[in-house]
Structure formats: structure tokens, C-alpha cells
Homo-oligomer: 410 residues x 2
Amino acid sequence: MALVVMKFGGSSVADADKMKLVASRVIAKKNAGNKVVVVVSAPGDMTDKLLEMADKITLSPLAREMDVLLATGEMISISLLAMAIDAMGEKVVSLSGYQAGILADINYTKARVKKVNPNKINSFLSENNIVIVAGFQALNSKCDITTLGRGGSDLTAVVLAVGLKAGSCEIYSDVDGVYTTDPRLIKDAKKLEYISYDEMLEMAGSGAQVLQSRSVEVAKKFGLEIHTRSTFSKNCGTIITSEERIRRKKMEELLVSGITFDKNQAKFTIIDLPDTPGIAAKIFSSLAKVAINVDMIIQSAAVNKKSNISFTVSREETKKTQIELDKIVSEFKDSQVACDEHVAKISVVGIGVKSNVGVAGKMFEIFHKKEINIKMISTSEIKISCIVDEMDMVKAVEELHKEFGLSKKK
Amino acid sequence: MALVVMKFGGSSVADADKMKLVASRVIAKKNAGNKVVVVVSAPGDMTDKLLEMADKITLSPLAREMDVLLATGEMISISLLAMAIDAMGEKVVSLSGYQAGILADINYTKARVKKVNPNKINSFLSENNIVIVAGFQALNSKCDITTLGRGGSDLTAVVLAVGLKAGSCEIYSDVDGVYTTDPRLIKDAKKLEYISYDEMLEMAGSGAQVLQSRSVEVAKKFGLEIHTRSTFSKNCGTIITSEERIRRKKMEELLVSGITFDKNQAKFTIIDLPDTPGIAAKIFSSLAKVAINVDMIIQSAAVNKKSNISFTVSREETKKTQIELDKIVSEFKDSQVACDEHVAKISVVGIGVKSNVGVAGKMFEIFHKKEINIKMISTSEIKISCIVDEMDMVKAVEELHKEFGLSKKK
């Protein structure tokens, strides 16, 4: 009998009717001849409500106590879902993360899973129960409740699927898979049948919030296929799997899987920096100290012992960054800081990027043809990102989506 | 260093401001040189909200899952209170009922505490922590979460005080102690300085909801004094202790500690029942089968082989009781059922009742003088209860309160 891990996100258990729908999907899966372990998130906006409650008490809450507080949301979900399944006549039992044998390290609010002890779940499964496990939470070596960070329920599902040697891991949410680009912006965006772990990671980093990145990393490490799909439809979603399996499954290889974009960007350039060792380190360690997260960084080659450094930050960090840079730059004669708040990042993601040298060239060609000015370029194994003027963003995404053959019509 | 257990009810932790007030009271207690263990209930109407959520899923929820659901309320309280105490600069740690070593039997939703393992709490106390424990919840031998029934947080406080050999147990709520009668009805009701366990039990049974009855029983068994007082005032409340200690402390003995009343009563009388063995058993076991809780029962002496039985039930059970009785009585020739929905129960409670034969006589004399008709009488060790017309209730309570010397003015 195959073992399936099904994970349902907060929007799938937001009210009683949705909870009952989830219960019927779970029971259908069992009736199809599977052992079923279900992982659930906190209902709807419960986690935000709990955070608000804490905010009213203190703005610097104890991390240990924050975990106790946040873990309650998933406890509400597991008990209600178990009641719903029982009311439909199936044997069911709910387990907290700690009862389920999910053991984590000592970091509160962002604990890392160290081990899964599957005995208790296996014992309940062998008694013909559907087992419901609270996502997002674990037990540490002090027997404290810890949580796994935002999106941690995805990780719970993945580590359970690995630990229980499940045949499949299905992640249900209110979106029906991973798209070639955001369908809210581009109408003929297409649902992908497959995507590789690395592509998925690049897509998530570029703002496509389908799956928590750490859970994708763990799935990759253990070769676990994830099927991400919609709670509210019977259609297949997108399978996240290894490059090899994708290559084997596809006759014709897609160069590019998706186009991502992010408007929440501001670009800084420091002009005429002295070209001496340690300058970059000084700038970026100063920014790190005040918790400014820097994204793309480009340093130009030195001319006349002077060089320029450009980088991007989140737009809400603009002011803070400006203040910090003014301090640093005041130490260097002739250096100046320029800021451009009206930029967007556009990325082409695909396992074809590394094997096919033409992808970057094609991207730049498309931009050139449409008179889109590229302000910065950065590349990784399977991604090419460009910073452009935010006015050009939609046009750029549309053109790339069409020209790389991602549209439905094709 | 003395150990104090402080318990705060739901209305004391209903919002952030109240939570902070509780935090400051707890810290003051510690600064006065005590080790402090705090027990908290779920905030405000949280438990009712959770029950509503379950109601929307199913009307017959699994008891095990109900416990998982209900236990979340107290988890929210302990974490928020711990944050508040930490924000005020004191070392603090929160523990669920199961982490705190409160072990219970296998009955879900109304588990009985079997044992308290104080090691974890003691270890945190020895590291100078204020320890906050979630009330109402425990761990059973299957490592499941269970709850102790409504009002179970009182019981948590009492069993912890006993298990930790605490010097005192303080139960805080929004009322400032036990009164001679309900101060909302009788303006010059007086707060009692002391009350015995047995009196407290009779008061609670008569509708004075200050403390959960089981917690009073356990306190009595182990000779633990309970100080019930207000969260929102520094005044002393009422000490619940043994008769012996009260007698030792008081020069002049009070005959009566309080007058309780309950309007939520309906009286049934079955007239002309055949006087044969087993009739009463038949009637009351039939009522028990349909979960009708019978309060006072009186059977008249038989005359001409016929006798009458009267009893009271909660007023909301009137219809159900009528239907059930009609069925039973149809089997007996000549028997009839009469119902009076407009009655109230008035009780005089006091350890003086058993030692002083005059209390009952005085009560009846007062009723007679005020022309209050007594419809039923029932007595226990320390309580005399009468059923009267509900129209006479207020007058009866006023007169008894005055005549037994309970008013403030005296």
C-alpha cells in the first residue's frame, strides 16, 4: 500500500466548508488504496492574528514564547480537520509536530529539522488511521516547542515524506501549480507540467511564492518529487523533480521554464571608488550590520584606479541604505552615490540556460528590439537577471514570455 | 524562600492591558521574596470561540480532538504572559500542562489528574525563573493532550500547589472573594474572610461560581488553603480552609456563612404513586437515561398505599422531563404529574448548621413571618435548602441575610 503525504496550506483550511472539502479529498485519497499522512498549516490569517496579539504585548518578544504562541494555529487546524474526517466516518488521529517525532535544533522561530522519528505515525497508520500532523512545528532537545519559520509546513510535509519513505508528496494550495510567469500579469501564462528543483529555487527567489525554498532544497537532497496542486480542483499541478527525470520525460527540451519579475527594487551606484582592496567588503559589511539585504552586485573594471559598484536592495530599504552609504562614502575623496528607485528585476529561469549559450544573447536581443534599456545584468547557473526601468517591466515580461515560447497559444 | 502558586482566570488575561497588569502582580510577588508559579486560563471568551469553530465542523466531535483544540487557548495565554513578564525584565518560562508534568487518566474532555511530576518546574524555579503553566490541560498515558473539564485551571493550580508543596495558592479572578450572598442582588452582602471547604462546595453547588468544585475537594483532601481574590484590587479576598482552622481563628462562631439562591429551577410532583418497592428507582433511572439531572428529591410517607414524589430539575429541562414522566406515569393507574415552573431554590449554608439545631427552625420562622410558602425542604450536613415561589425569592434572601447577621451594617 502506497504512502502519500498531503499538505494543505492556510487558505485551504480557512473555514469550516473548506475544512470539509479537504477532509473529503483526504478520504478519497485513502479510499483509492493509500495510507495517508496529512500536514496542515494554521487556518487563514490565524498566524497574523497571533502575531498581532504578541505585538500588543511587546515589540521584542521572547523567541521561545513566540514559538509556543505560533504553534497554536496549527493545533487548531489539526483538531478541526480530524473532527471533520471522523464525522465523515473515517478513522483519524491528529498529532502535534512534537508528538509526530519531528525533532529540531535549538533555534527558536527558525529551527532546522534534525531528525524525524516515524514510529508513532507508522503505528497509527498500521491501525488504519488517517494521520494528521501539525505543520511548522517541532520539538527541540530541551523538549521545547519550536517552529520552522514562515512556510515551515511545506518543510514538515517534505521531511515527513522523506522520513516515512512516502511514495509521493502533494502540496495543496489555492494556486494550481507553477506558471511560466505570473498569470495575473500575463494572461497566457502556462502551467508547467514539470520543473526542476533548481529552477523552482530560482523562481521562489524571484518572487514566485509557491513553495518554501528550504523544503525544495531538502526535497532535492533526498530526491523527493513534490506535486504542487490546487485544493479546489482535480487537475494535476506541477511536479518538482530532478533535471535528469525531466530530461528523460521530455522529448524536446525547453530552454526556459519561466520568466519572473520583481518591482520591489531600488538600484544604488557608487561612482569613482578608489580601486584598493577591501573597499567592497567595507561597504557590504556596513550594510549587513544594519540588516540591509543586498541582492544583485556588480563592480565595473577599474579605470584610472577608480571603479564603480552597483547593487540593488528592496525598495523599502532605500532611505536606510542612502543614509548608510552617505556615511561610508564621506570617507572617500571624489566618490558619489546615485540612487534609482524606479527599477525592476526581470529574470529568465531555466535548466537550458547553462547548456545553451544562446539564452542570454536572445534575452538581450529581445530587449534591444523593444528598446528596453538594460541597467544591470547578473547571471547564475540557470538564471539570467536584468535590471530595467520599471516602466519597461510589463513589456519586457510579455516579450520574453512570447519569444521564449512559453505562451499557451503556441 | 516561599513558593506561591498564583492562578489567573480568563477575564484577567482577556486583553493586552490586563495581561500586563497580571505580569506586574506576578513580578511584585516574586520581588517580595517568593518563588512564583503562575497558572493561566484561556483569554476571555477564547474557549467559547473554539467551541463555535468545532460546532461548525460537527455536532458530535471526537473527544480526543476536542482536547487538542481546547488546549490551544491556554497556550496562547502562557506565551503572551511570558512575553509580558520578559518585557518587564524578569526571567520567565512558559510550560504547557504536559510539559509541566501534570499527568492524567485516559478520559478526554474531563480527565482526572493522577500525578504531578514537579521536576521540570522545580528545575526552572531553581534557575530563578517565574514559571507559567497552562491551566486546564494534562498529558495522559498515551502521550495525548487531555483537558480537565470546565474550570479545570483551578484544579491545575491546586494540584500544582500540592505537588510542589507550595506555601500558598492564590486564585485570582474578577470577583474579590466569596460573599455572604450575591452582591448584585443584595447590596449589603459582605465579603467573607474565611470559608470552610465544605461550605465552599455547598456554595458552588448552589450557583456561586467562584471556584471549580473538584479543585475545592482536592484542596480539602490535602489541607491546602486557597486564597481567592481579585486581579484588579490589592485587597485580601476569602481564604478557603478547614473548619478547624476557622474555629481556631474566630472567637465568635458564625452560624451561617452565606445565603445562596437559584432561580433556574422547575418542580415536578407525581401524585398518588403506588407505594411499592422500585418505583423511585424506575422514575429516576429513566430520567438519568435521557441525561436529565435531578436536584432535590422528596418522597412523602405513604397514605393508603399511595405516596407522592417531588423533585426539581433545571428549568430548561422542563419539557423533556414532562415528556419522560408522562411515559412513565401512564403505566400507573391514578397517578398524575404536576409541574411548577415558577420556583426558586434558597439555601442557608454554614458549618453552624450541623452543630446548631436552631438554624433550620430560624429559617422556617423567618419564612413564616414574611408569609413565604415553603414548597420543599431538603437538608445536608451544612446546608438547608427550601423551594419557594420565585416571586418570593428576593424577599426571602434579603430577610435571611439580615436575620442571620450577614449584612455589612451589623
